[in-house]
């Protein structure tokens, strides 16, 4: 599966899904008018990758500074895919990056963390 790189815009996040290396990244801000249209293809690519991948560690790093509720829903859907993969034995690590004084993003990370049962979830505070 090829790498997916999408430059960030004002309303959509920067995407770098490096499937061959097992490193996926999201950054910036995410509040597209139609979140399903933006995240749908990413979610499908992730699902296809998880289905066919060979065993190997996978890291998903999220460094969003703002996201709307529909983006949160899309993130949730991807997290569920990852947790299912982890349940199947994959070494999945989700790193949630937030600024030290950003309690909203930190809290969102904590909320997401509660939904993971199998994957490793790291809340990373950045100075």
């Amino acid at each position: 599966m090829d790498r997916i790189s999408i430059a960030g815009t004002e309303r959509t996040p920067e995407v770098d899904f490096d499937f061959p290396q097992g490193r996926l990244k999201l950054g910036g801000e995410s509040y597209p008018e139609d979140a399903a249209a933006f995240f749908g293809p990413l979610q499908q690519a992730l699902a296809a990758f998880l289905e066919n991948r060979e065993r190997g560690p996978l890291t998903f790093e999220i460094a969003l500074t703002y996201f709307n509720s529909s983006s949160a829903k899309a993130l949730m859907n991807m997290f569920m895919l990852l947790d299912d993969a982890a349940a199947g034995g994959a070494a999945v690590t989700v790193r949630w990056l937030h600024a030290a004084d950003d309690d909203t993003i930190q809290e969102a990370g904590e909320d997401f963390a509660a939904d993971f049962e199998h994957a490793r979830f790291e809340l990373v505070e950045q100075p």
Binding site: T65, A99, D101, D103
Partner: protein
Amino acid sequence: MSAAELAPEEEAGRQARPVSLRGAGPARFAGAEGGVGNLPTADAGATMNPGALRGAAQVRDLDSLAHTLFVRIYPVIGAALLFTQCAIAFINYSDTTRIRTEQAQSLAHLAAAAIVKPGWEQDPATERTLQAVVAEPGVRRAVLRDRGGRLLAAAGEEIGPRAPGVLSVSAEISRGQDEGPEGTLALIVSGENLRVFAQQQALLTLGAILVLMLAFVLTLHLNVRRHVLAPLQRLLRAMNQVERKTWTHVDPEGRFRPANEIDSVCLAFNRMVDGLQAGDEAKQLLARLEEAHRQLEAANRLVMESIGYARRIQTSTLPARDALRGSGLEVAVLWQPLHLVGGDYYWMEELDDVSVLVVADCTGHGVPGAFITLIVAMALDQILHHDRLRSPSAILAALDRIVRVRLRQDGRGAESDDGLDCGICVWRRATREVVFSGAGLSLIYVQDGQAVRVRGRRRGIGFAGRDAADPTFEEIPIRAGEGTCFYLVTDGVTDQMGGTGGSTRRLLGYRGLGGIFLRHQERPLSVQIDALKTELAHYRGSQEARDDMTVIAFRPLRPEGATA
């Protein structure tokens, strides 16, 4: 030769179009006085009026250029030729005359030498000599005189030495250097053929000049036609077409190379055409863009009018601002949808002995969000008035059930994965207690100089994709102290993107919002709401608001009868 004669030959195979070139002359290009290099180029072209070419296209007859050149140049060349040829003829004539005179002189000396001998006057040999001399070509008369000038003998024609067209020479007849002359021999030779020769030469020169003139005219015409006129006419034709906005280039390399200057003019013209074309295309593009803009504006106005109407409907589903008057609460509301209508909804009502305050943040904003708020409004009406539920957790559970049914999220094939965050406060006046229950929404209260956030259940209400409906909602009772302020807020308020001037933007968050509430806690709630709006705008700075915002602020009033 006229321009009309030129065109078919030079333009064979081209699109032939009659062009009137009457009354033209050397082409003068408007604005070209500054030199070829100063012709308008691409950037200037955009502002050039196509009509400006009209003046350039209506030039006088191009063909008379050759004529003008001929009339101006040929007399000078002709005069110079005539003058030099005449000078040469004159020199020739003088030279030949001199040579002929010298030859005649030698002949006279020789004859004199032959004649002189004793008794020559009577010698019959003298007469023979004279006859022999006259027989020489060109010698017309020989006259022999004695010392005294008396005519002794003569031979040849009877003409005098002053006759026209003759040369006369004489030689003394003398026996030796020391002896005196015994007589003279005068010869008259013909100079007429010399003059004729000179005249012939003059005529020849004249003929040569005429031939030269003819050759000159032909060459001039041919060359001017090929290298100047034909390219200029191509240029003119192109100008006429450009005037009609048919963007044509001039091919500077026709069958014959044009003169350098014309070549430059052609190239400059082509650049100008490019510029004009680009300008024209830009203008057309702009016109199309303006048209599209007008249409978009019309479409947008239509949509905005429609949404404006929708806003009136949505606001009519909201309670009156003074719905809780007499309930013992001071209340102020901020309801600010991002796009006229929105997914934020609130409800306040005094029922029996309690007041119910509801804030809901439905998924999405704008029109889609507004649809869900209508479901919530209907559901709340049923819950509060038909089911008569009064506890916040029960109201939330019922709301969850109704929304799922309405959106077919109860296992009947939902097309919508929507839902809402909701916070409900019930104010029990008798016990001065506020009971809060929340689903994805928090309550903030400010008491004793502290802003406290009470989180509801993390999960919202509705949503097809989640686990089966979870009807458990926690109830959190809060005793209202003296002057305690309560705020039910949607996340559009905390999710203000902005910052303190740092490089990365931050969300305001509950901590930031709590700080704002703390700063204004003593003020009337309506003033607090205004202050909040100002502070949020200040925090956002250049950033736009990104979500609908709703705040219900309420503060229990001092109980009646209590004294300050």
